[in-house]
Amino acid sequence: MPLIPVVLWTDALVFILLALGVGFGIYAAQHEHLRAPWRQVLHTRTGVITLLVLSSYALIGILDTVHLRLKLPPTTAAAPAQYAPEVVSLLDLALHGLRERQEKTYSAPLATHLFTKEVIEQPDGTLRRDYPRLLHGGRHLTAPASERSADLGWRTVRGAVKGLASWALLTGGILWLVARRRGEPLAQYWLALRRSPHLQPGRTALITLAVLMSIGFIAAELAAAYHLFGTDKVGEDVFYQALKSVRTGLLIGTLTTLVMLPAALLLGIAAGYFRGWVDDLIQYLYTTLNSIPGVLLIAAAILLLQVYLANHASEFTSAVERADLRLLFLCLILGVTSWTGLCRLLRGEALKLREVDYVQAAQALGVGHFTIITRHLLPNVLHIVLITVVLDFSGLVLAEAVLSYVNIGVDPTMNSWGNMINSARLELAREPVVWWSLTAAFIFMFVLVLAANLFADVVRDAFDPRLR
């Protein structure tokens, strides 16, 4: 085998989450009352655009979640297969060039020369202090000063053309499939798509896709020969770091909710349904947890994890594994601090629902508590769960950056926007300013959070029965 797959703890949870998502999608598609709100989401322009943007982030994140170890080239013919100790992801393989092309230190975005002066030996043997050429960025240019802008422009155009061409191919394929399923000629369907107000979401989706694919191809074209967002202090490509951080951001936003969901659902519904001492106990539990300032609880838990890791260093085979455990633990503890809000909402809803006629009828007919909860209460609070999950997502992504700044976030060796900001913020004091690491991290974060916030609004409008 040329590789062995590696499944980290968070990877496994992501796969579970994906399976749950697909399962829920299939279930929802078969039930009209669940399909209707989603159709409403997809019939708003914001809904379609944000969903596509979020999907592109998700695609990067999922590619980065499939981890493996590559086979090393055999030393002798008879030797047993050896595998590289380093764990890489599919994204690493796709960005192979970006990961390897390391410079000496800072360089500006799309630069051909290093950011700091060095002593360079001239061909005639004399020494001169100047900005040296980069090892990789703009390597193919012979006279960078005159050729660079033309080369950049040419690459941008080529990227845009490539992007639009692949978009046209993809669109053609999709349209052909849809037209065949509807039994219409392709040309007629195309005309309908351009005119009909009924197909507005489809138009929006295609235009968004065109923009996204052009941006993607232009970025790929430029990143192939330059450092799109420059390089950081140790010369690592900032664009690569920002892409790698996508997974961390998405994981914090989704896994946190996943780990808190069972507890919040179970306790919230139990408190509202059973009332009495169960209610008192659960209320006490969440009031106590809620009264501890969230940051301090996280800090305390992470400090303790650090003590544990420091004293049990030998139990981890690789740094990736340790960083992964810390990420999982962070999700857990963030979940502990944030489940109380959902729990309270669910309790209130369950209190209301237990007085509804059909629940009373079920009780009168002797239906068991468990059946009542799973058949009658659970489906009726799912919209609250969904809205909370989507609303919490953006807050958690932003929280990651803040926590990493306080050093109680993800492992310092892990790629994350918070770590990027944390290590780059002192560089603003330099003269001239090193601004690109911060900018890249903030842009990636802003686009994700903005899309998530807009999407959350659309989802809330579609699912909240009070707003319907």
């Binding site: 009264s291 400090l303 650090q306 700044y405 306080v406 900001i421 300013v433 959070v449 609004d457």
Partner: protein
């Protein structure tokens, strides 16, 4: 009223005990004081003697819950649980792991925190409410649409960006305010302008959106239609009727955080070098000073509960229908 307060205070007691037990378990049971000492002393091959002396200096050398060597009541009092956790109930925070008096530090550092948090709260409140009222007044116009977009964008920007960007733009490029630092007495104002400004700006997105939702919800109610039908001007309806009735949810949000203002803001204070409780907490976290973190957890919980009680009391002031008994 008095009876209500007493009952609420008694109800708070088990919660505080819960918080206390939780921190005790987190800090002393999950990881023993030995682990802490090793971590603090840094080296893996640290001698047991060094660990013991570190523990003794800080009073961590007692048994956790029960001291069999002592006699009488001292069996319970001469323990880590009593010395380090139970004493928190009477606000005896003891000394930090670095040897400083925590209560004194808190009493000193509280004021700079308040000097930032109170203006941020007041200015932010006034600004957000007036902006939200303006949006509701001009609803279904381009102002409304543009504001909605602007607010979502503001909301999506990381808090770190506001601080780093504001510091860079206003202090480094325009030299309008000092980058960081603090001064005693009235001279502190020029160090406060920038953090307060940034605090207010970073809160506009979330704050205004929240008030806008409140006002819109309120404006769809029957009494508003009645008021309009009577021929009242839109502005009067907005300020007298809608704002007046929206005061209850506004108060719930504001009063509950009032006591927590003492805790200060972690990010702002540490970025601007302001010696408040927020930067105190951050320093404690990065120096791994467990005594301070424990004290702040307890203080935060107490302040949160006070906030909840204050919220209930404030209802009686704005809503005559609410009676506490």
């Amino acid at each position: 009223m008095i009876a209500y307060l007493v009952r609420r205070a008694l109800y708070a007691l088990p919660i505080l005990i819960g918080v206390n037990l939780l921190t005790f378990i987190l800090f002393f049971v999950v990881n023993s004081p030995d682990d802490m000492a090793r971590m603090q002393l840094g080296d893996k091959r640290v001698t047991q003697a060094a660990v013991d002396s570190w523990k003794q200096e800080r009073g961590y050398d007692r048994p956790l819950l029960l001291n069999p060597t002592a006699t009488g009541i001292a069996q319970f009092t001469d323990t880590i649980f009593f010395e380090k956790s139970v004493r928190l109930f009477v606000f005896q925070f003891g000394t930090s792991d670095a040897g400083r008096d925590i209560s004194y530090d808190i009493s000193q550092r509280m004021w700079p925190s308040l000097a930032i948090a109170v203006p941020v709260l007041l200015v932010g409140l006034a600004l957000n409410i007036s902006y939200a009222l303006l949006i509701v007044l001009l609803r279904a116009t381009y102002v409304d649409l543009a504001s909605t977009v602007l607010l979502v964008a503001l909301l999506s920007i990381s808090g770190l960006f506001y601080i780093i960007g504001g510091q860079f733009l206003l202090s480094k490029l325009l030299h309008l305010a000092p980058i960081s630092g603090y001064d005693t007495g009235i001279n502190a104002w020029k160090f406060l302008v920038l953090p307060v400004l940034i605090g207010v700006v970073s809160g506009i997105g979330a704050g205004t959106r929240w008030y806008r939702t409140l006002f819109l919800e309120e404006s769809s109610k029957d009494y508003v239609r009645t008021a309009r039908a009577k021929g009242l001007s839109e502005l009067r309806v907005l300020v007298r009727h809608i704002l007046g009735n929206a005061l209850i949810p506004i108060l719930t949000g504001v009063v509950v955080i009032l006591p927590l203002l003492f805790m200060g803001s972690l990010l702002t204070e540490s970025f601007f070098g302001i010696p408040g409780l927020g930067s105190y907490t951050i320093d404690a976290i990065s120096n791994q000073d467990f005594a301070i973190v424990r004290a702040m957890v307890f203080l935060g919980a107490v302040l949160y509960i006070i906030g909840l009680i204050l919220t209930d009391l404030s209802y009686t002031l704005v809503d005559p229908r609410v009676r506490l008994q």
